[in-house]
């Protein structure tokens, strides 16, 4: 099981869309993925330490070093392959690199 932390400003629209898109697409590609959607301001070092991959909308400064792989997922929000597929591919490569 790969745990992904999706985050956006309000924790309500974008991060939830990224959560459902990642769970569906990574599931289709044969990976068991669980994704949580939160507000950026609620993230701390302890929270992020419980996840394998960080999936923000755009480059995000959390005020501390992030020690897990980061995949910027904003382009997924467009819901068209031209934008979303490169992100899915990068996510898949990142999952593989975890060696879980």
């Amino acid at each position: 099981m790969i745990k992904i932390l999706a985050a956006c400003g309000a924790g309500v629209n974008s991060s939830h869309q990224i959560k459902s898109a990642l769970e569906q697409e990574m599931g289709n590609r044969g990976y068991e993925v669980q994704c949580d959607a939160v507000m950026v301001k609620d993230i701390n070092e302890d929270m992020i330490s419980h996840y394998d991959i960080f999936a923000p909308i755009a480059q995000t400064d959390l005020g501390f070093n992030i020690n897990i792989p980061i995949v910027d997922c904003g382009p997924i929000l467009y819901r068209i392959p031209m934008m979303a597929d490169p992100v899915y591919n990068q996510m898949e490569e990142t999952i593989k690199s975890l060696g879980k």
Binding site: C8, A10, V12, N13, A37, M39, I57, A58, G74, L77
Partner: protein
């Protein structure tokens, strides 16, 4: 499914800045009891820290850029998409590249007091913008009658979802 749009909460704005249009719309949404008193302040703060502009020219050069301003569920009393046609384009930062500025001609403000619900309003908006033909969208972007805007969107979102 309940209505995703409300004619009274459909706007055509002559405002020239984010702040002006956010204040105008927030006040009317407050009068309609769709948001709380603190909505306006939180909407403004959130847009500053986490911008919501979306570049649609990369989808199709014929399309105008949009933004999807929104804030946390606690300041919102409904699940609704609030269309706001801007008669003059307003600058927004790009949601997925915050350093980039976009000239935005339409806002789809999202009121969402139910983030865990099945209907993802943002997904529906993007589905609408990427699956409707650019010619139809271009016509839609010129509508200035809130009733027509509302009817068009209600109809189009029914087709898509």
């Amino acid at each position: 499914m309940t209505h995703l749009f409300n004619e009274q909460a459909t706007f055509v704005s002559d405002k020239k800045t984010q702040l002006e249009v956010f204040k105008e719309v927030s006040q009317k949404l407050l009068d309609l009891d769709l948001v709380t008193q603190d909505f306006e302040k939180n909407l403004i703060d959130r847009e500053k820290n986490y911008p919501t502009g979306m570049d649609l020219e990369i989808v199709n050069p014929l399309l105008k850029n949009i933004a999807i301003p929104h804030t946390e569920p606690e300041f919102v009393k409904a699940k609704l998409i609030v269309p706001i046609k801007l008669n003059q384009p307003i600058t927004f930062s790009n949601m997925i590249k915050p350093d980039e500025l976009l000239e935005v001609s339409y806002l789809f403000m999202i009121l969402n007091n139910d983030p865990e619900g099945q209907a993802n309003l943002l997904a529906m908006i993007m589905e609408f913008l990427t699956s409707t033909s650019p010619e139809t969208l271009t016509d839609f972007f010129t509508l200035t009658d809130t009733k027509e805007i509302n009817q068009f969107l209600e109809h189009q979102f029914k087709i898509n979802n």
